[in-house]
């Protein structure tokens, strides 16, 4: 391991520890957070990663099935709303620090030493943002059409067709409980695995391809963070005055959130602090912007 990689590992150790914690908090057979909530409310169901599905409540709302969020899946809906609302105040910290789906693909990208020239990165943040929100609009269109039965029910919901959480949950179940859990493969899960881990994880620089383009919760949290940033809540800012233009921040940012002028695109930023730990020009601020001080 190079000295730089070691330094990055040490400086960002709390985030990597949080990745592991996220796994134990949400993924069965552990699912400690969900288990604790279920215990408190007397729910006897077995908690899994599906109990806090990051996408289904969004699908329901845009599909006009509001009633679903008040039913037995209330915890799932409450969780998703908490993530989005907290992003206004603290940034998309769930995505950057706790989400097990993003953590696995990012960890894989860091662990497998593929040369940089073979990795894909879009340097133009406007393009990344356009694509991210384009995919969100596509997700909403399908949620709407399926929700209102303009499309036949047999096509199923868009989030269950391509479910990275399912793939992760089944891997975890196979590893810790029943090895046969890994034998559930179908074309949707294979395609998801390919995009989540192979293309989005290994080939995309930073390993967050799935989060960048296919996670509606990530996209909505990004919007919430943008609003929060405008209102003066926690956000990462760049200080032009001390920037040397080395571009290290750009290559470290897993979310491709650093623009070519080194300012931060907030709809993409997950407040992971990789840039802050690598360079003094970045600071996590609240209230006044760096340049006003």
């Amino acid at each position: 391991m190079s000295l730089r990689a070691k330094e990055t590992l040490v400086k960002n150790r709390w985030r990597y520890i949080a990745f592991v914690a996220g796994f134990f908090l949400f993924v069965a057979p552990f699912a400690l957070l969900t288990r604790a909530v279920y215990f408190l409310v007397g729910n006897t169901a077995e908690p899994t990663l599906h109990s806090v599905c990051f996408r289904m409540p969004i699908d329901w709302i845009f599909g006009g099935r509001f009633y679903s969020i008040f039913g037995s899946s209330w915890f799932m809906a409450a969780f998703v709303f908490t993530v989005i609302i907290s992003s206004i105040f603290f940034g998309a910290v769930f995505c950057g620090w706790l989400c097990p789906v993003g953590a696995v693909s990012e960890a894989l990208s860091r662990a497998v030493p593929i040369p940089k020239r073979f990795r894909i990165r879009i340097r133009d943040t406007t393009l990344t943002v356009s694509m991210r929100y384009g995919f969100l609009v596509g997700f909403i269109i399908i949620a709407f059409l399926v929700g209102y039965k303009l499309a036949s029910d047999q096509f199923g919901s868009i989030c269950c067709r391509y479910c990275s959480s399912s793939v992760l949950q089944n891997f975890a179940s196979a590893l810790f409980e029943d090895p046969s859990a890994v034998g559930y493969w179908h074309s949707g899960s294979i395609i998801t695995l390919l995009f989540w881990l192979l293309i989005g994880g290994l080939m995309f620089s930073g390993g967050r391809g799935w989060c960048l383009f296919f996670c509606p919760l990530g996209a909505l949290s990004g919007l919430a963070h943008k609003i929060g940033g405008r209102l003066g809540f926690y956000r990462v800012e760049h200080n032009k005055g001390i920037c040397t233009g080395c571009n290290r921040c750009q290559s470290l940012c897993p979310m491709w959130a650093i623009k070519n002028d080194h300012t931060v695109e907030r709809t993409l930023c997950v407040n992971c602090k990789e840039c802050i730990h690598a360079c003094d020009a970045y600071k996590l601020v609240r209230g006044k912007s760096i340049e006003d001080n």
Binding site: I120, I122, D124, T126, L127, S130, M131, R132, Y133, G134, F135, V137, G138, F139, I141, I142, L145, A151, S152, Q154, F155, G156, I158, C160, R161, Y162, H186, S187, G188, I191, L194, F195, I199, M203, F213
Partner: protein
Amino acid sequence: MRITEKLKMWWAFAMAASALPSSYFLTMSCCGTCAGCPICGSCLLAYPILLAIVIMARLIRAGKGLLRQRQTGQ
């Protein structure tokens, strides 16, 4: 923002926004007749398109690099 940049932005947005719905609906005939797999034929379209985009992006980048190399004569 220059007009070409705006156009590029809206083009990317429109392409991304139409990718999922078009893959969903264009494959309906496959899904409607069989429905044997849970993704109902989306694999026919969505991911080959995505892969094509990735490959094209790489080719364009490589082409640009080559052009730049020729221009600078290095």
